[in-house]
């Protein structure tokens, strides 16, 4: 009996044992004299305020300047941040985080549970109007949605500090991946006294106070910014990089030229240049799986009548030769996709999908057969529709190749229409399309971040797909211990009904100088922390 109690206690308390929460420098490594790391930003970041930031580059800044409850290690696993461990209540509705006592803000103040309480309430305050308030809603924190809607006061949010080092979160429903979600920048603490003193100007370099491994010393809009190590950071001793410089360079080819000239340590690989760069700089050109998918979405609500026939949807999906798109068109180490969720997603097992195992010739034969059965195609009624995508060279290439395959194999006529990004979003969001390009990057590393897109009520369900069984399974997955059978069934239903055509899963393409070590290549969300990087002497 006693035994069981201990086992139970162990299962409920998660103490993080991951070792990699600082630069993990192997013994005997000679570090470079100059520990300055310079990288390219494609665009200026949206904000330095952790509760307001909404872009991935900006989140990178937030992870350096602030530290949340947990960090991610090089594998994407949880590593201690300000929190050392947490306990989950028996009903899985209350999380109690134990915070470290040595965490300090860059002005010397201690980091306490109250800073988290303040920041989390701040994130849902209607007056702050953070676009990322939706993330807090997704975390299912008690009263979160009502506060955002203006029906309750921010003080009623289900977060509290029982003492300076104990942070308690109450949920409105169990959420198995809740602990994964606290690595996100929206949940980082913010310094109330600084925000009170400076208002909206609190993130200027002369005002900002953070609790991360770095502090901001220079910020020139749309040009450059500099972070230097924060002496107050609790693990400053194990931080190696002294300075992190981010340069805003819009043109990807120009960025590559500057990388070659030695002005940058890391930049993105321009579209289509991965094979050339891999041949030229084998140790520097990198392609690793990334948690994003790319698909074609049917409009099942107001699209062509033919799309209501599952055989038509199947036929079009079968006839796309994904290997050609991945290997001949994109050439960046992407992965052909036959199901929606990327294989790299944590805890996700790629289910058996019939057509994934066929040869392309078999798929093509079946496609012709299905389309003929439906009464369309070469000997039936003509099928034609418009494919909508946002203006971009690589989207265009994918569109041309896919529609050409449909034309040749099935005799289907597709006209292409490209639109500027926001016009495209507006039309796609209002079902003002027949077939449209879609893509999604995971908000957290769990399959529901993808599959929820096809839940009938989802605001991102552009196909307007509606299947009660899928909704039921996805709802069950929210509180299930073993999600694999549920997700497998969802994926198999999707493959059978084909509301969207999965095309490929992304890879992250970059060039990284050989002397930069510690980049988390196995972290599929590409969540890096500058404190984990170091430069070796060449």
């Amino acid at each position: 009996m006693k035994h069981t109690t201990i086992a139970l206690a162990l299962s409920l308390t998660t103490a993080l044992t991951s070792g990699a929460f600082a630069a993990d420098v192997p013994a005997g490594t000679t570090l470079a004299q100059d520990q300055t790391y310079t990288y390219r930003l494609q665009d200026e970041i949206s904000s330095l305020d952790p509760q307001l930031v909404e872009d991935t580059y900006g989140s990178g800044f937030a992870r350096d300047l602030f530290e949340g409850l947990y960090n991610q290690d090089g594998e994407g696993q949880l590593a201690p941040g300000v929190a050392l461990s947490h306990e989950v209540s028996a009903d899985k509705m209350t999380y109690t985080f134990t915070l470290r006592k040595d965490a300090k803000w860059s002005d010397g103040n201690p980091v306490t549970a109250h800073d988290f309480v303040y920041a989390w309430k701040r994130a849902v305050t209607p007056e702050l109007a953070s676009p990322y308030a939706w993330y807090m809603e997704l975390m299912s924190i008690k009263n979160g949605a009502a506060i955002i809607a203006g029906d309750k006061q921010p003080d009623e949010l289900g977060v509290s500090a029982t003492d300076d080092h104990t942070f308690v979160v109450e949920l409105s429903q169990p959420l198995p991946y809740f602990d994964q979600m606290v690595t996100h920048s929206t949940t980082f603490p913010s310094p109330k006294w600084v925000i009170d003193a400076h208002g909206e100007k609190w993130t200027l370099p002369e005002n900002i106070v953070g609790n991360g491994a770095y502090k901001l010393t220079e910020y020139v809009l749309k040009e450059r910014s500099t972070r230097v190590r924060n002496d107050m950071y609790w693990d400053n001793e194990n931080t190696v990089l002294d300075t992190v410089v981010a340069l805003v360079i819009g043109d990807e080819n120009q960025a590559l030229t500057r990388y070659r000239a030695g002005e940058l340590d890391k930049t993105d690989t321009p579209a289509g240049q991965y094979p050339t760069l891999k041949a030229e700089l084998p140790a520097e050109a990198i392609a690793v799986p990334r948690l994003c998918n790319y698909y074609f979405s049917y409009n099942l609500e107001s699209g062509p009548e033919a799309f209501q026939d599952v055989r038509v949807r199947q036929a079009l999906a079968l006839a796309v030769d994904r290997k050609v798109i991945v290997d001949q068109v994109l050439q960046g180490g992407q992965f052909p996709a036959y199901n929606f969720t990327p294989a790299a997603t944590a805890g996700f097992e790629v289910p058996e999908i019939d057509y994934a195992g066929m040869t392309q010739a078999e798929r093509d034969a079946k496609a012709v057969e299905l389309l003929a059965e439906a009464g369309y195609g070469k000997d039936g009624k003509p099928l034609s529709f418009t494919y909508l995508y946002n203006t971009s060279e690589s989207h265009q290439q994918v569109a041309i190749v896919a529609t050409q395959m449909w034309k040749q194999k099935l005799g289907v006529d597709v006209s292409l229409e490209n639109q500027e990004w926001k016009v495209f979003l507006e039309n796609r969001g209002n079902q003002n399309f027949e077939m449209a390009r879609g893509a999604w990057c995971g908000d957290y590393n769990e399959a529901s971040t993808f599959l929820d897109l096809l839940q009938s009520e989802s605001g991102y369900n552009d196909a307007k797909y509606n299947n009660a069984r899928v909704d039921e399974l996805l709802a069950a997955a929210k509180s299930s211990e073993n999600t694999t059978p549920l997700y497998t069934e969802v994926e198999q239903i999707l493959a059978a009904e084909m509301p969207v055509i999965p095309i490929y899963h992304y890879s992250a393409n970059m060039v990284l100088k050989e002397d930069v070590k510690g980049w988390p290549l196995n972290n599929v969300q590409q969540k890096y922390y500058s404190k984990d990087l170091y430069k070796v002497a060449e």
Partner: protein
Amino acid sequence: MLSYTLRRLMAVIPTILILIVICFFLMRLAPGGPFTSERPLPPAVMKNVLERYGLDEPLYVQLWTYVKNIIIAFDFGPSFSQKDRSVNDLIAQGFPVTLTYGFFSAVFVLVMGIPLGMIAALRHNSFWDYVMTGLAIFSQIFPNFVLAPLMVLLFTLALGLLPGGGWNGGQWQYVIMPAVALGTSYMASVARLTRGSLLEVLNAPYIRTARAKGLSERTILIRHAMKPTLLPVISYMAPVFVYMITGSVFIDIFFSTGGIGQNFIDAAYTRDYSVILGLAILYSVLTFVLTLIVDLVYAWIDPKVRSGLK
């Protein structure tokens, strides 16, 4: 002259107001808004965001608030895409950058273009004339979007002399390539204009008179031929200069200078309404002021024009 200047300046205000109204409504005609995103915001979040920026008000109220804030507080509103910054911040940051390299570019155009044109005219049909004309044509057929990458390949990648981009507080190494890339084709035009103009002036009867009086070629050139030669150059340079310090979008993006041109493009794509409006106002005020200055310079040089400015 003074009353003329004042009158011209007074005309700026109604023009700018009309421009604000037109721009304001044109922007709203474009589909999508600043908060349209791939991840559509839930309605409650969207409502809070729109309320925060006053975008939930009727359009005419928004327009009135915007104009009022400019007049009362010289506040051009918040940026939606750079949430910590205002339009005033963006302009204060980017405009000095563009102004700096635009200015040096104009200096480069004049300091190189005029002497080149004069040498070609004075050594008409000689070897030097052909060299200059060849050089001018060569620079003209290289638009800046061809020249800039070539310069970077040569000076950054091959020779390692200059940084391939950035601004770094405006250190000279960072200014050279943007200024030269921006100015080269204008420099060629100025050289050709100067050459043609000087050739024409040198054939004018009053120059023959000056020669007959026994004045040295040098005195004739500097005292008598210079001013009329430069007239077409000045009228050419007026719009070019405005363009240089405002609209060098390509240079800003290619060299990542952080200049104002980059903001214009970004703001259009992100529907950052107040940034677009703020920049449109800035551009038009600049256009007004610079053309006025050019007109005044023109009047100073040309007595015929001066007498017309009453």
